[in-house]
C-alpha cells in the first residue's frame, strides 16, 4: 500500500496568514484579469489576422467565444448534473442487491 499517508506537520505552518487568504487580494487578481482581458480587446485593431473560415476574423471573435464557452459548458453541465447525478453508492447498492439475491 502506497496510498493515504496523511502526514501532519507542526501547527505553525497553518497559522501563518498567506497573501491569498485575504479576500481583498483575490479581488485584486480578479480585477487584474479584467484589466488584461481589456488590453487584449484593445489590441484587436492593431494586428493583422489570417482568418481561414471568415467568421474567425470578426472583431474579438476569440474573446467572445472564450467567454461564452464556459457559460454554455456550465449551463449544460448543470442540466446534466440535475438529470444524471445519483448517490455515490449507486453501483455499490446495485451490486449489494444482486449479491443478496444469490
Amino acid at each position: 500500500m502506497n496510498e493515504t499517508t496523511q502526514t501532519t506537520t507542526t501547527e505553525t505552518s497553518v497559522k501563518t496568514t498567506r497573501w491569498l487568504d485575504d479576500s481583498k487580494n483575490v479581488d485584486k487578481i480578479f480585477w487584474a484579469l479584467i484589466g488584461v482581458c481589456a488590453v487584449f480587446i484593445v489590441v484587436e485593431p492593431f494586428y493583422h489576422k489570417h482568418p481561414y473560415l471568415g467568421f474567425d476574423g470578426m472583431f474579438g471573435f476569440f474573446a467572445f467565444f472564450g467567454f461564452l464557452a464556459p457559460l454554455f459548458l456550465v449551463f449544460f453541465g448543470r442540466c446534466i448534473s440535475l438529470l444524471l447525478a445519483r448517490k455515490d453508492d449507486f453501483y455499490d447498492a446495485a451490486l449489494k442487491q444482486s449479491e443478496d439475491n444469490h
Partner: protein, 562 residues
C-alpha cells in the same frame, strides 16, 4: 536496436529482472532501462526487421518509420518519467507491471503486422490491470475486472478482424485500410474501444481513477495513445472519424465539469483531448496526421504531469475529491507550481500543448470543417476550464479545507519537475518537436495573430470562470455518481439478466405447477365418474335393462311397420 533486442521487448524482458535486484539498484535499473531503449531508438534506421514466416503469413515484428518513431520516443520518455515518479514505491508487482506495460505499448507502435499488434495489444491489457489492482481495494478490484474485460474484448475484435483480412487478402501487414467490410469495421471497433470513442469510453473514467497514485501516471500515457497511433496507421482520412472525434472532444467536458474526483476529471479531459487527435486522423492530410502525432506527444507530457500532481495529492492528502480539498498550495507549493505548469501546457503559448494542438486545429480550418472547428475551439476553452483551472483551483487554491500534509516526496518532485521542463522546452522551441513528426512540416505556431487569439480565448475563459465563481454558478463539487453509458453494462444488463432468470425460473415453476394441477384435475374427474361412488361404477338392476330392451324392441317394431 540495443543488443539486437526489438524495441518494447527490451522493457518486457527487462521487467523480469526487477524482482532479482535489491533496493536502490532496482530503481536505478528501472530508470535506465527505458533510457537505454530511447538511446537505441535514436540511432535506429527506418525499415522492417526480424520478419519471419508464420504458417502462410509473413510477420514483421518491428517496422520503424516516422509515425512509429515519434510514438516510440514519447513512450520511452513517459516510461522514464513515470518510473522516477514511482521511485518511492516498493510494490514489485506494480514495478514489473509498469515496465512491461510500457514495453507492450512500445512494441505495439512498432508492430508491422496485425498479429504482432494483437499480441502487444493484449499484453498491454493484461499488464496494465495490475496498476489498478495494486490499489488493493474492492472498488479497484471491480474496476480492474471491468477494465480487463473491455480491453481483452478489444483484442478479440482485433484478432477477428485480422483473421478475416488474412483470409481475404492472404496478408496480415498492418497498413492503411479502407472501411467497407466486416474485417475493417471489427478492427476500427477494436481501436475505437482503446481510443475511448463515444459509448465505448467508459472503461477510461472508470478504471484510471481507481488505480494507484503512481499507476494512473503510467496508464494515462500508453493505451489510448497507442490506439491513436493505430488509427493514424490504419485509418487516416476516414471521414467518419472527424465527427467521432468532434463528439469526443466536446461531450466528456460536461462530465469533467460536474465530477468531484479530480483524477476522474482528468480522465474525462484525457478523453476530450483524444478527440482532437481522432479529428486529425479523420482529416488525414499530412498536416493533420502530423497534428495528431504532435498532439499525442505533447498531450502525454502535460497529462502525465497533471496526473502526477494529483497522484502526489492523493499520496499525501489521502484524497483527490474536490469537495475535500482546497488551500493545498500552502502544504504542497512545489506540487501546486508543477500542476500550474501542467494546466498551462494544455494550450497556452510557450507550452507543449499549444505547439501540438495548433497543427490539428489549422488542418481543420484549412479543410473547411467550420462546425468541427467551432467544436474544437469550444473544447479548447472547455478543457482549459475543467482540466486546467478547475483542477488547480479545487486542489490548491479553493477555500482551505484544513488538510495539513507534507510536500510530495523528492522523487515525485523530480518526476514532476522533469516533465514540467519538457513541457516548457517543447513549447518554447517548437522546431524540436516538428523535426520528429512523421511528415516534413513547415508550420509556424508563433504568429502574432495566432498567439493573441489563443490568449484571448484562454483569458476570457478564465474571466468567465472568475465571474461564475463569484456568482456561485459553478456546479458545487459533491460526491455523486454521474450516470454515463456504463449504466448499460453495470446496471441495466445485469438487471435484465436477473429479470430473465427470474422470469424463466418462475415461468418453468408455474408451468410445472399447472401441469401437476392439470393431472390432478383429470384424475379427480375420472375418479368422480369411475370411482367407487361414481355414476359409471354403480351396479345396474336387471329390471331396468329388461325395460330398456322392451323399449328398443317397441321402437324397432314401430319403425319396421310404419
Amino acid at each position: 536496436m540495443l543488443w539486437g533486442i526489438p524495441p518494447g521487448l527490451l522493457l518486457i524482458a527487462g521487467a523480469f529482472v526487477v524482482p532479482l535486484l535489491p533496493g536502490a539498484w532496482r530503481k536505478t535499473y528501472m530508470t535506465l532501462l527505458p533510457l537505454a531503449g530511447l538511446w537505441a531508438l535514436a540511432g535506429a534506421q527506418p525499415g522492417t526487421f526480424y520478419s519471419f514466416n508464420f504458417f502462410a503469413y509473413e510477420l514483421s515484428p518491428v517496422r520503424i518509420d516516422g509515425l512509429s518513431l515519434i510514438f516510440g520516443y514519447i513512450f520511452h520518455i513517459a516510461a522514464t518519467l513515470s518510473v522516477i515518479f514511482a521511485w518511492h514505491n516498493e510494490d514489485v508487482v506494480e514495478q514489473m507491471a509498469g515496465l512491461s506495460y510500457a514495453g507492450a505499448g512500445i512494441g505495439a507502435v512498432f508492430a508491422g503486422d496485425l498479429i504482432t499488434l494483437f499480441i502487444y495489444w493484449e499484453a498491454m491489457a493484461i499488464t496494465s490491470v495490475f496498476m489498478i489492482w495494486a490499489r488493493r481495494t474492492d472498488a479497484a478490484y471491480n474496476a480492474g475486472m471491468r477494465y480487463l474485460i473491455v480491453q481483452v474484448g478489444s483484442g478479440v475484435l482485433l484478432l477477428s478482424g485480422a483473421i478475416l483480412i488474412a483470409h481475404e487478402t492472404g496478408s496480415v501487414v498492418f497498413e492503411k485500410m479502407t472501411l467497407g467490410n466486416l474485417a475493417t469495421w471489427l478492427i476500427l471497433l477494436a481501436f475505437g474501444i482503446k481510443c475511448a470513442f463515444p459509448f465505448l469510453h467508459n472503461w477510461l473514467p472508470d478504471a484510471y481513477p481507481a488505480a494507484t497514485a503512481t499507476g494512473t501516471v503510467f496508464l494515462s500515457a500508453f493505451t489510448t495513445k497507442c490506439a491513436v497511433y493505430a488509427l493514424a496507421r490504419g485509418f487516416p482520412g476516414t471521414e467518419i472519424l472527424i465527427y467521432v472525434g468532434a463528439a469526443m472532444a466536446a461531450f466528456p467536458l460536461f462530465y469533467a465539469l460536474i465530477e468531484n474526483d479530480l483524477r476522474r476529471v482528468l480522465s474525462y479531459s484525457l478523453n476530450n483531448q483524444l478527440g482532437f487527435m481522432v479529428v486529425g486522423v479523420g482529416i488525414g492530410t499530412t498536416l493533420a496526421i502530423n497534428g495528431a502525432a504532435a498532439h499525442a506527444f505533447a498531450h502525454i507530457l502535460y497529462k502525465t504531469l497533471l496526473f502526477m500532481a494529483m497522484g502526489a495529492v492523493l499520496y499525501r492528502a489521502g484524497t483527490v475529491k474536490a469537495s475535500e480539498l482546497g488551500g493545498l498550495y500552502k502544504s504542497m507549493p512545489f506540487t501546486a507550481f508543477f500542476c500550474i505548469i501542467g494546466a498551462a501546457s494544455i494550450s497556452t503559448p510557450l507550452f507543449a500543448g499549444f505547439v501540438g494542438k495548433s497543427l490539428t486545429i489549422s488542418a481543420t480550418a484549412k479543410g473547411g470543417y467550420e462546425i468541427v472547428w467551432l467544436i474544437l475551439m469550444f473544447a479548447s476553452a472547455g478543457v482549459f476550464l475543467v482540466s486546467g483551472i478547475k483542477i488547480v483551483h479545487s486542489a490548491f487554491f479553493a477555500s482551505d479545507a484544513g488538510i495539513q500534509c507534507r510536500e510530495a516526496p523528492p522523487n515525485m518532485l523530480v518526476g514532476m519537475g522533469l516533465t514540467a521542463i519538457l513541457c516548457v522546452a517543447v513549447g518554447v522551441y517548437s522546431p524540436w518537436l516538428y523535426s520528429i513528426l512523421p511528415y516534413d512540416v513547415t508550420y509556424q505556431p508563433y504568429t502574432m495573430d495566432h498567439v493573441i487569439n489563443q490568449l484571448q480565448l484562454l483569458l476570457f475563459t478564465a474571466l468567465a470562470f472568475g465571474l461564475l465563481t463569484r456568482f456561485r454558478l459553478i456546479p458545487e463539487a459533491k460526491n455523486s455518481v454521474n450516470l454515463d453509458f456504463d449504466i448499460t453494462y453495470r446496471r441495466w444488463l445485469p438487471q435484465l439478466y436477473r429479470w430473465l432468470i427470474t422470469l424463466t425460473r418462475d415461468g418453468w415453476n408455474s408451468f410445472l405447477q399447472d401441469l401437476i394441477n392439470g393431472v390432478h384435475r383429470v384424475i379427480a374427474y375420472m375418479f368422480k365418474h369411475h370411482g367407487p361412488e361414481g355414476i359409471l361404477a354403480r351396479t345396474w338392476p336387471t329390471g331396468s335393462m329388461a325395460l330398456w330392451v322392451a323399449l328398443l324392441l317397441g321402437g324397432f317394431l314401430l319403425l319396421y311397420y310404419s
